[in-house]
């Protein structure tokens, strides 16, 4: 079963500043945490994809009217709703997907404290009929 584990900007508990404002060791620790988690999932045969997206200031919202696109540039008032990145995992059950999301949810933040990020877990629709 494939699941998307989605990370949005705004869903971090408490008043955590954006990563651009952390001190370098904390940034490095966070990056290493993500790399290590991906490596573990790859080693377990569970990782399908992991991607980070460019920042919300670079995001564009496109809405077309009669073929003419109206493009709105960031930053946005609703930046919190934007995706920061995702993992797609291929696992035996929803329980395992939730377990992985729980790991991702507590990556280290400033001073190494767990970030407590809310991860959205969505099953990917299967191309086969059960």
């Amino acid at each position: 079963m494939k699941f998307m584990l989605l990370q949005h900007y705004g869903r971090v508990e408490g008043n955590v500043p954006p990563i651009s404002e952390w001190n370098p060791e904390d940034v490095q620790a966070h990056i290493q945490f993500q790399k290590d988690l991906n490596a573990e999932l790859r080693e377990r045969g569970e990782l399908v994809e992991a991607q980070a997206l460019t920042g919300p200031d670079l995001a564009k919202i496109v809405l077309a009217t009669d073929g003419a696109p109206a493009v709105t540039d960031g930053p946005f008032a609703e930046s919190k709703e934007l995706l920061a990145g995702w993992r797609m995992v291929d696992v035996e059950s929803e329980e395992r997907a939730i377990e992985i999301a729980a790991l991702a949810s507590e990556g280290p933040g400033p001073d190494g404290a767990p970030l407590r990020q809310a991860i959205e877990v969505r099953e990917v629709m299967s191309p086969i009929e059960p």
Partner: protein
Amino acid sequence: MTPARRHRRDVEDLLRENAPRVLAAVVRRFGNFADSEDAVQEAMIDAARQWPVEGTPESPVGWLIAVASRRMTDKIRADSARRDREERLAVEPEPGPSAEADDTLALIFMCCRPELSPASAIALTLRAVGGLTTTEIAAAFLVPETTMGRRIARAKQTVAEADEPFGLPVPEERAERLRAALGVLYLIFNEGYAASEGPDLARTELSGEAIRLTRIARLALPEEPEVGGLLALMLLTDARRPARTDGAGELVPLDEQDRSLWDAAAIAEGSRILAEEMAKGAVGPYQLQAAIGLAHDRARRAEDTDWAEILALYGLLEQVAPGPMVALNRAVAAAMAEGPEAGLELLTEVEPRLEGHHRVHAVRAHLLELAGDGRAARAEYSRAAELTASLPEQRYLTRRAARLSAGGA
């Protein structure tokens, strides 16, 4: 295709067909499943590179066994901890000839150990017994190659740790191991059969592979009627595949399929095999499911379907292998044989066991539609569409709901 390409393709086919035979011989000789599998893979890579250039050897299987064995002995010599085994090997007699089917069956049992997750057992079976490459398996399951490689490697490790001698499982474990193996083969079949999208030929080949392996298992286990039962089920199901999707790749329900497209030869063979198995007396779930498939396949038109027989078969299936899904299917058969009310009644009985499952809504929708309650049916189809995780099924349910909106039942 150029002659060179044809030769390469022939070599690939030859390698794939003979993979289990070679692996079996090496595992029997050296005992280490994981290392043997690696050695055989490497020998096959060598063959794929050399044979198109130098020509296929007189005895391809002998060549592969020799090359793989040489890699194994090299590895053993390099590994000081294995020196004891090397001394033992020197005095062990050459293994005698063994029926190919028996070897393949032993490999299937190895790869389908119950402690492996279904996905792992499927991947390992396709690789070690089916001879598919990691690339092909990764493509079939839409997973990166490295990830699939790790999945297979871990599965091999689990098998190696079980340290079971090569051969059939001991009698006390036979029933459980057979159940696990048949379950994996059926999953592989379904992965291939139910793929209705896109250019994934890798997927549709999986059904053929499952059928091929089940045939071999039946050759080696003629006394087990459920193996033949599963084979019959696969053939009778696969026979309908050409009519299963429409020109746009969308699912066509059974009662609307163009039956002239069904594979008559597959139906005939499935029917014959089923008859042979059922004559042996012990009727199990695969045979019963095959019998239900045959009841559908025998009907020239949907309206000729013997639903009373199907209802009776589901009744038997519920006794032999009870479960909420079987009960659901029986509710549908009851509706078709005895009227929608009978089906809806059975549905209410089974519903508590399947709280919120999309199939309950899908079945209720179908029965309500049969009963003429279009509005209620539409609501149930929509609800089912919201809950299913299958994309083709979701589109089918949505279209079904829309059909009722447009002027309704």
